[in-house]
């Protein structure tokens, strides 16, 4: 199970508690998290289900590369950080 941690800044708008979810890719893990927290989905992903322009995701400290497909692989015990990028802020 991957651990998913959301930026504290998002909490002011929508509750995004730390979560655990299974999945081989970022997409699979986030789909599982948002299935139980649907309101949060559009705060992280855009209309085409790509990562929002000024959001960023790290897997165990490494920034993901596939912002559109979210196909970066996720290890069994990985920690996924969903943060806002400094850009745009």
């Amino acid at each position: 199970m991957a651990r998913v941690v959301f930026t504290p800044n998002i909490q002011r708008h929508v509750a995004c508690p730390e979560a655990e979810a299974a999945g081989a890719t970022v997409r699979e893990v986030l789909d599982a998290v948002f299935a139980s927290n649907p309101l949060a989905r559009s705060y992280v992903l855009d209309d085409q289900s790509a990562l929002r322009r000024h959001m960023t995701i790290f897997i165990d400290g490494v920034m993901i590369r596939d912002r559109k497909g979210l196909g970066d692989t996720v290890g069994e015990n990985a920690t996924i950080y969903v943060f806002q990028a400094l850009s745009g802020g």
Binding site: V14, L39, S42, D46, D47, Q48, G88, G89
Partner: protein, 366 residues
Amino acid sequence: MSDELLVSTRKGLFTIERCGSGWEIAKVDFLADNVTLALSDKRSGKRYAALDHGHFGVKVHRSTADGWEEIPTPTYPEKPEGLEENDMWGRPLPWSTVRIWSLVAGGPDEPGVLWCGTLPGGLFRSRDDGQSWQFVRSLWDHPSRKMWSGGGADLPGIHSICVDPRNSRHVSIAVSTGGIWHTSDSGETWTQRGHGMRAEYMPAEQAHEPNVQDVHCLAQCRQAPQRMWVQHHNGIFVSSDEGHNFTEITNAKPSAFGFPVVVHPREPDTAWFVPEIKDEKRIPVDGKLVVSCTRDGGKTFKTLSNGLPQSHAYDVVYRHALAIDETGDRLAMGSTTGGLWVSEDQGESWACVSHTLPPVYAVQFA
């Protein structure tokens, strides 16, 4: 006559109420958040606020008995795999709601209907007070839509929506930049209108092409809907045939540039503008904030300044930030430098409500 104003600002939604003989800030919602537009739907009593959370995207909230609730944001359909569509800069056109740029109620005979115009040019319709949204595919798929360009923003957007008071199925929209479009069947089919406008920023052979016109704001007279007024990027235009054809008004004083226009609900020849030095500067002429008013269909203009700052004023009034109430007597406007003024005598005199608000994006009488 309305005693309440909704003021959308960069840092919250301010509700202004008439108290005694003056107007005061009564309430602030979404403090510190970017409220780009608000709607008071007089049919249902519901209010709507469009928020732009930047990193976290555009959201819509609807009033409840004791506060607000988030409702679905108009969402673009899935972009077909392999489709290449670029904006005017050569970048992929986002099939995503980048900004809500117009939000209006449908006619009195269609409760629950809302229209929503967005950047990058998509139009949405709701039949259930915003609980769900239908993408108006017929307009998006129109070949001419792909020719729309950025104007007020990098991306094209729909900023004005006029529902004909005689027939709610007749809707006119204005695009920056894409001119004026009309549907007579609630959005099933669309035709270009707005002939006769002139775009001086285009090569001569393109200047009169309706689909390149940078309409800043479109207003329709309630009692005489055949009359439409346009504040355009390089001038003021008026139509007497429901927006099919426009005539340029060339004697506007002190300037023909600006963003908003409002028309008197019963007097089609009476309209108000907020003139600025034209596009390369965008500040009030001589540092004096004024409103200009015509009462004869654009033949003459009166400059209204009583109560407005007349020295070193650099306020810009955006396209949704000049409002008129249903009586036609009260006007209100807010500026980019946080000024808010109300007039109770059709603009002859203005009272300052505040000059320290956040930048004002939109003003509406509730």
